[in-house]
């Protein structure tokens, strides 16, 4: 029976548009119309999700890239966040003994908060949501009447 260290996650590739920034990665999910911004740690982990690299190997590479004493817990945090944002091809099972807040607390205790993987997401607006409201919406499927838009802000 293989251990959690031997898990080799796959990054999802279908229906994604990817834009590389300096240390970050922008990913647009064409199926869900969600855009995600991955910080450096999340980017490094996601790029290693090739179906061959184990979690243990990812942790070693991550420590080298970040020049910080990170361990597999950090990789699991990243994988869990990537899984929740549907950026992994298959659901990664997070080991129960290392799931939850205790792991994050442990990372904080190690002074590694700056290395925490962060994924910020938005739902891409429909075209009509990204323009000024109009007074008459009759017949416009995505139209925002001024009254409604006024209440939203």
């Amino acid at each position: 029976m293989s251990s959690a260290r031997d898990v080799t996650p796959w990054a999802r590739a279908a229906d994604l548009a990817v834009e590389e920034l300096l240390d970050e990665t922008l990913v647009y999910d064409l199926a869900r119309h969600k855009a995600h911004s991955l910080n450096r740690t999340a980017t490094l982990v996601w790029r290693q999700c090739d179906g061959k690299t184990t979690v243990a190997a990812m942790a070693v590479r991550l420590a080298r890239e970040l020049d910080l004493p990170v361990n597999e817990d950090l990789v699991w945090v990243a994988l869990e966040r990537l899984r929740r944002t549907h950026l992994l091809a298959e659901g990664v099972i997070v080991p129960p003994e290392s799931a939850g807040y205790s792991r994050r607390d442990a990372l904080r205790a190690l002074g590694l908060t700056a290395a925490l993987p962060v994924i910020v997401s938005i739902l891409a607006p429909r075209a009509a949501r990204a323009q000024s409201c109009v007074s008459d919406c009759s017949g416009l499927p995505d139209c925002i009447p001024c009254q409604q838009k006024g209440r939203r802000v």
């Binding site: 834009e19 920034l21 855009a35 891409a124 075209a127 001024c146 838009k149 802000v153």
Partner: protein
Amino acid sequence: MQKIDRLGWADGRSIIAYGLRVGIRTNSPGMLDSLVPRLPVGWKPSRSPDVQQLYSLIVGGDSARPSVRRFNVLYANAARVARSMVLDEVLASFESDLRLFVGERAQRRVFVHAGVVGWRGRAIVIPGHSFSGKTTLVRALCGRGATYYSDEFAAFDARGRVHPFPTPLGIRTEGKIQSERCSPETLGVRVGGKPLPVGLVAVTRFKDGARWRPRRLTAGASVLALLANTVPARWRPTVAMASLGQVAASALVLKGVRGEAEEISGSLLEMLDAASGAVGDNE
């Protein structure tokens, strides 16, 4: 569509805007002139009868029977866009729908809902939804000498530069939801003409009594903040992300709530000067 084609059309015109061919026809002679102020910035007449979007405006009004009034109706291709007794509402829908069509389909621009001004060779972009206070801030910046670029859309090219889209400013008076449109010239505002690189993006909204204490966004968060206001975000996400990525890579992007526009307009101009090392007059 054939049913609409069979209606009697008295006048028609083809235009081209941002590379898109649009047709407009109406049953009322002279009505097309009323539509001209509502056409997108930079439109030109076109001779081509082939169009990508055809608007059909049926002007209602009184019928032969004195007790009957007919609706004004607008179609975009075969879809009914608006139907109202009030012609001005239908014309506003025409403007809105056409703007949406251009904003979504224009191949060489990425339209982001934002206010834009120019200052010493760089642009300040203020993305945001309606009622976030964009126009007030744009006017305050113009009052300090900035040039007006847009109250509605930041039109970005592939290099991340922003082009003028000088629509009339939509000024809302207290208690009224619909805005009143004022031309920049009427307000004594100078209008910019050249595309500008973006120096500063202010992701902000008005909050009564708030102090402007912005935080700087990372490049990724900056793109998301702009993408949240991007018209073709779903239609052309790859192009949009590439263009907005150029903006985020070079501009200072700040986020925070603000109080009165007058209070932060000077601060924004100073921040832009500091970020770009600019001195001298605004040109």
